[in-house]
Symmetry: C2
Subunit: 364 residues, 2 copies
């Protein structure tokens, strides 16, 4: 799906998803449209909940009668609520695939992650050569830039081949969204030495080193947990279980530290006065670690661009998720993932001589 | 190894280990002795490096001619440096085991983790019923108390049975050191629901629930990464790979946030003045997240009490590791681990009827 430069980028927005629904998504859409004159939005949801958007330009309401709640089991989202805003929003990506006119170039939802991934997988299918889609997000690092981390919970018990695919897809994402053409890739491990870690991690290290030597990846080597926030590499690859724990632990720690600062500055009249004086400093600090700035995780490996906003996102955070999806579509993330996967797997296949696996042959 | 109340607690200290050796360990030992009139220390290391301690009361130098460096491979620590301060310090725990007079009740080293665990395993052996020793540490949480987490890197690819053993040993540790007799136990997972996670985690959940129902554990259920710093449970159990990543990520994030605060307060003359005014507030905050306060990880599951200090520890941090080892010995951690393991495994064995496994029968 190449987007000609003249064509506007169109996003399908699940306006009903997340903890807050339209009260957050609509103001975010409005702010996003003002800042992105080249963008159009399909506002998906119950029309009576979206009346506030009546008359907005570059916008169209796409009706969907049902809503997937944050607690709905995957099964309900997949089989029962067939006219949910989440499902209809993803469906907007399908039309463009087989020569029909494109409805939307990317889709954004703050709905529940498990349901979103499941519906997206069923409707869009995975890209050829990809075994399992993954979820990628960014966190700030000490260099003032960002570290992209995947997988963050879509896969548990990832194989070495899965981890290689995460590295390839993640490289395409960083190239498209951060503009770093050959991002450095670290393999998350419990030590820097190649001999450390589980068997799967050691095998993944070998696959990544081979892909690096062949010029398909900029493989740095093993990294440890602290390297994520040091910014040692642009991209960190890990199993979904580990990534999920890592991200949620970070959320918990950052919240705790933020609350400790608040408590200490709120202790008495004098400290409260100091807090007022230091407000610009405290705000500047808060801005640097504000997770809303990094909102918008990419679901990678699907035949369509789906971005997931945090369920508790406010309008600022949801707008950032829209902006990330927009950048990804404008910079042809889907093509980039496809091209990189094909190149890497072709190389693997030719290394293996005539013994190319069916998956590889298919993708090549 | 029950310590009669009248007998002083004696710690064997690897004075040469860590990044700084005696320049950190000796001042820490001195400060520790001043605050613990019921303690005695065996200072293990090269006598010429420990002359500063000559004349200290309740202290004795135990000579060891070699030093395991932070980069020494496990093999060197195990087979080549047979007179290392690390090895000799651990050996002080052995004598007491078979009726001989006790040399030391616990051992503390800031030496490299892999070497320390390997030497301790070979010299002390694991407790009956324990497949793999684990490393447990504490982190601060939002309630103002601590969360104990294990395993932190000794084991990768832990089985469900390993995770149960970690829970039992960790409960004994929290009871002994934090004084919480039936600490709540959380199983680290990627969702609260019992159906989430890998197969191993689901099986571990079943074992933990069964041990909880039988009254051997205070099992809370699944917890997620953010619960560690929320303080949802007193104890969090996880695979060593996940725990290692979690802890190092936390270190990285806390360092980054600390540096961001410093940078913002250091931006110009005005902000620097504010920092001076706010110094007591900033210090109070720093104290609450000061990792030195939580230094001293327990190696659990061995037939002797070994505590590991962070390699980069300063004197304040190393003194805290000594204090934790002292508390553990005074509160009979080794007996507690043994008793809990026996009780839990006996119950498992009787559940399994006559089909008790050899390991279980042995421990019972």
């Amino acid at each position: 799906m190449t987007v000609p430069l003249s064509e506007p980028i169109r996003l399908a927005v699940d306006c009903m998803g997340g903890d807050h629904g339209p009260s957050v998504t609509l103001p975010a859409c409005r702010a996003f449209l003002e800042k992105h004159p080249g963008a159009e939005l399909l506002l998906v949801g119950q029309p009576e909940a979206l009346t506030a958007a009546a008359g907005w330009s570059r916008c169209r309401v796409v009706p969907a009668s049902e809503v997937v709640t944050m607690d709905d089991p995957i099964d309900v989202a997949l089989r029962r609520k067939r006219d949910s805003s989440m499902r209809v929003a993803i469906q907007q990506l399908k039309a463009g695939r087989d020569g029909e006119p494109v409805q939307a170039h990317a889709c954004v939802s703050a709905g529940n992650t498990g349901a979103l991934m499941a519906v997206a997988k069923v409707l869009l299918k995975t890209l050829e050569g990809i075994d399992r889609p993954a979820i990628a997000a960014v966190v700030p690092n000490a260099t003032g830039r960002f570290t992209t981390v995947l997988d963050l919970g879509a896969n548990v018990d990832s194989s070495a081949q899965n981890l290689l695919q995460f590295a390839v897809m993640g490289s395409a994402l960083v190239a498209a969204v951060e503009g770093i053409e050959e991002p450095s890739v670290g393999l998350l491990n419990i030590g820097e030495e190649a001999i450390k870690g589980s068997e799967v991690i050691k095998q993944a290290g070998e696959l990544l080193r081979a892909a690096g030597s062949a010029g398909h990846l900029n493989f740095f080597g093993n990294v440890e947990g602290n390297d994520i926030y040091k910014g040692t590499t642009d991209l960190v690859v890990c199993d979904g279980f580990v990534g999920n724990v890592m991200l949620k632990t970070s959320e918990g720690l950052a919240t705790m530290m933020g609350n400790f600062i608040k408590e200490e500055f709120g202790r008495n009249l004098l400290t409260k006065l100091l807090a007022v004086l230091a407000l610009p400093v405290l705000k500047a600090f808060k801005h640097r670690v504000d997770h809303r700035r990094f909102n918008g995780a990419a679901l990678l490996g699907l035949r369509g661009l789906v971005f997931k906003s945090h369920g508790a996102a406010d309008a600022v955070a949801f707008e950032n998720a829209l902006a990330r999806a927009y950048d990804a579509a404008r910079n042809r993330l889907l093509d980039r993932v496809h091209d990189r996967i094909v190149a890497t797997l072709q190389a693997q296949a030719s290394d293996a001589g005539d013994n190319a696996t069916p998956a590889v042959a298919q993708a090549a």
